[in-house]
Amino acid sequence: MLAPMLAFTLRRLAVAIPTLLAIATASFFLMRAAPGGPFDTEADLDPEVLESLYRAYGLDQPLLEQYRIYLANVLKGDFGPSLVYEDFNVTELIAIGLPVSARLGVTAMLLALLFGGTCGIVAALRHNRLFDHATMTMAMTGIAIPSFVTAPILALFFGLYLKLLPVAGWNGGAAANMVLPVIALALPQLAIIARLMRGGMLEVLRANFVRTARAKGLPERQVVINHVLQSAAVPLVGYLGPALAGIMTGSLVIELIFDLPGIGRYFIQGALNRDYPLVMGIVIVYGALIILLNLLSDLAYAALDPRVRRTYR
């Protein structure tokens, strides 16, 4: 069983390299197709100054030459200097921003899994009863209300009104500063996870093997834990891979509203200021994360479902 899984993993990793190359190429040329340039937001630069800036960053070279140099540097692991944060390399900025976003994202995801998963399971077991309807209504609300609404409300209520928590800021990742952003990030995920878990559960609860388990006279608790959960989690696992990649690479809205030094803010600042190396660096990291987490979620599929395992040859 292990050998085919290993071969599958290696095959997927081999495909990842051309995929990332394609992502880098597409984002390189798309960025350059956007109007404006990196130093255009400084309105009053003299042409002499501007020209010397372009020269200093190699932007005066022909586009294909720049692309060639860029790819060669990326293959060496060098994303180049940032054009907006001029004292830093893109690699340094990602090293500052990604841990912040990842820490928030993973915490939010764990919270969402814990509460959303539990709600989903209980709702499915109480199918069509009050708890089910209540949680699903709340879940729909959670999905429908965007975080740019919930985040300021949380900040206003817990920060300004109750004065319990700081309204914004990172403060080196202090627990008090993490509470509100994590809740705001977790709420929509929690809602989606609850719905996915409930849906998976309902399907499996009707399956023949569950009826068999019940007919054997197993107590309900054991039926759920030993037989239902494993299969019911399959759709959720498929969702978690890309969702985790998305949430770890930073939520722009949350980072703006709570003034957090995460990678989402770098991404949008980079895009607005045409910081080509920074945007491409983040896109490549994001692409790599998605590929990796999708692979992990596919492997988790296989671990959960023997039928899937067979197709991984």
């Binding site: 404006g36 340039g37 255009d40 937001t41 100054v49 004292d87 300004l160 928590l165 607005l272």
Partner: protein
């Protein structure tokens, strides 16, 4: 036993209280609503981070709390009778923040580095009046040919090509503060990191986490360290003005350099003593592209310009106490009497009637309405302004198509002349008409309208050559009046500084330059 929830909450309260207690001690200041610096190298950082940079670096001259020019690193200076040679006498025992001595040769290095092409410095064009500066920046001459020299340890000399009445103001800029050659050459672009960056101003850099905060601590080697009140200054860069505002209201920040315009009414009602609004050296205007139709026709420019009631714009759209603008130079510029055109005093019905007949004379009417594209950029208040202009011009039969773009796209398009009309903002680094009139001078990098008037250029050149202030300002006034009669651009309103200052922060004097140096601020109990 306590139920778990209150326990959790009391833990939160305790940690939050601890956090606030640590942050708001008597000798700290927490400032927000500043832009994230693109660099802390004083010659590379863009103008948006000037408050932080002035806390870190002091030039040969400096400003008092009211924004008046005072001696800085130089204790005194002599200007030759022809206005071309400046002798600066440095203070005794002038030191970097690491305690090593600063000498005249460090200023020689500073200005040479500033005009050397290819090293990413931004402010070289400030010093085009210095001998050979322009040719060095153009790559024709070696930086060693720059008109600067160290006569001895404490005497620094600048030689100019032409008199420059704003030179002393420009030398207050951090870009002209002493730069540590040895450290820059050793660490390259990373010399600006905490631990390496040596400064010359009231503060030095203790911590810098991009997008999170900068922490500045008092520089014990600053020449006036004894007068600096606040020990530690935290800067929190924000991209969201609402967030900064919430942090101010929650007591997490003491000083905001700006706040969202639509919160003004609420602030006036709830925080009256903490609101500071002051005229700035800046203008908001519509630049018409004079080079191509329809705005190559002065009648069209005039019709659009006179049809807009500036008072309405100021009172009903901007609502932050902005002064109305009919000239390019703000009324707050010192000793300058702005040449307000006659239409400003005429009634609106009369102006609208004249605008209609001007458009008709230019060949526009109900069958052939004037249609053009107006570009504008964030923030949100510009959208309201653009929509208001569209509605006002519809009254005289003009179709305005609005195009919203980001900053970069807008700046690129006006700089390259690839636009028809655009709303724009201009701030002057000096308290004088000259940088405002650059907006209209042929060949000037900020003349986005492409306006060209040989007589205007001649008057500006002759004004620059005047050593006497009043004669010079009179010439500028004459030039401005001449250009305004051609309606090259449409002034809308003059900019204001709008700050929020916590009640326990004292020592702030609002001024047109927007100087809010931490060194003059105090926290009172």
């Amino acid at each position: 036993m306590n139920p778990p929830m209150p326990l959790f909450r009391s833990a939160l309260i305790a940690s939050a209280a601890l956090l606030l207690a640590a942050a708001a001690t008597a000798d700290t200041l927490r400032r927000g609503a500043v832009a994230e610096p693109n660099s802390l190298d004083p010659q590379i950082v863009s103008g948006a981070s000037s408050t932080i940079m002035r806390d870190l670096f002091t030039g040969l001259t400096s400003y008092d709390p009211a924004g008046r020019l005072i001696p800085g690193a130089a204790e005194a200076w002599d200007i030759s009778a022809d206005g071309l040679t400046y002798h600066f006498r440095l203070r005794e025992n002038l030191k970097w923040s690491d305690g090593s001595p600063i000498a005249a040769k460090d200023f020689v290095y500073t200005l040479r580095r500033l005009v050397t092409p290819g090293n990413r410095t931004r402010f070289g064009s400030f010093f085009y009046s210095v001998r050979n500066a322009r040719r060095i920046m153009g790559g024709e001459l070696d930086p060693m040919e720059l008109g600067v020299r160290a006569e001895d340890e404490r005497t620094f000399v600048i030689e100019l090509e032409r008199p420059d009445p704003t030179l002393l103001e420009k030398l207050s800029n951090y870009a002209a503060a002493a730069m540590p050659q040895a450290i820059i050459e050793e660490h390259g672009r990373r010399w600006s990191r905490p631990g390496r960056l040596v400064t010359t101003g009231p503060y030095r850099l203790a911590e810098w986490v991009p997008q999170s905060h900068l922490t500045l601590e008092k520089n014990p080697h600053f020449y006036a360290a004894g007068e600096v009140g606040i020990e530690t200054v935290h800067y929190f860069p924000t991209t969201n003005a609402e967030t900064a505002m919430r942090r101010f209201l929650a007591g997490e920040l003491d000083f905001l350099l700006t706040f969202p315009a639509d919160r003004l009414d609420w602030i006036e009602e709830n925080l009256p003593g903490q609101l500071k609004i002051w005229p700035a050296l800046g203008i908001s205007y519509v630049t018409f592209n004079n080079r191509k139709p329809p705005f190559d026709d002065v009648r069209v420019r005039q019709a659009l310009t006179i049809s807009v009631d500036r008072q309405q714009i100021a009172d009903r759209i901007m609502r932050v106490g902005v002064p109305t603008a009919h000239t390019v130079t703000p009324s707050v510029v010192s000793n300058y009497d702005t040449p307000v055109p006659d239409y400003a005093r005429q009634s609106m019905p009369r102006r609208l009637a004249e605008a209609r007949s001007l458009l008709e004379a230019a060949g526009y009417g109900p069958d052939r309405p004037l249609t053009f594209e107006l570009r504008y950029e964030p923030p949100e208040e510009n959208r309201r302004l653009a929509i208001a202009l569209q509605a006002i011009w519809r009254e005289i039969g003009v179709n305005t198509e609005l195009l919203f773009t980001d900053f970069g796209t807008l700046y690129r398009s006006v700089r390259t002349g690839d636009y028809t009309a655009a709303r724009f903002t201009w701030f002057s680094p000096t308290d004088s008409p000259e940088t405002f009139l650059f907006l209209l001078e042929s060949g000037s990098t900020t003349n986005y309208s492409g306006y060209h008037n040989a007589e205007f250029n001649r008057l500006i050149a002759s004004a620059e050559a005047q050593l006497d202030r009043d004669t010079r300002l009179a010439k500028y006034r004459e030039a401005e009046a001449l250009a305004l009669a051609d309606y090259p651009v449409m002034p809308l309103y003059f900019m204001v500084h709008r700050n929020l200052v916590a009640p326990d922060i004292q020592g702030y004097t609002p001024n047109s330059r927007g100087m809010a140096a931490s060194r003059y601020l105090r926290r009172v109990k």
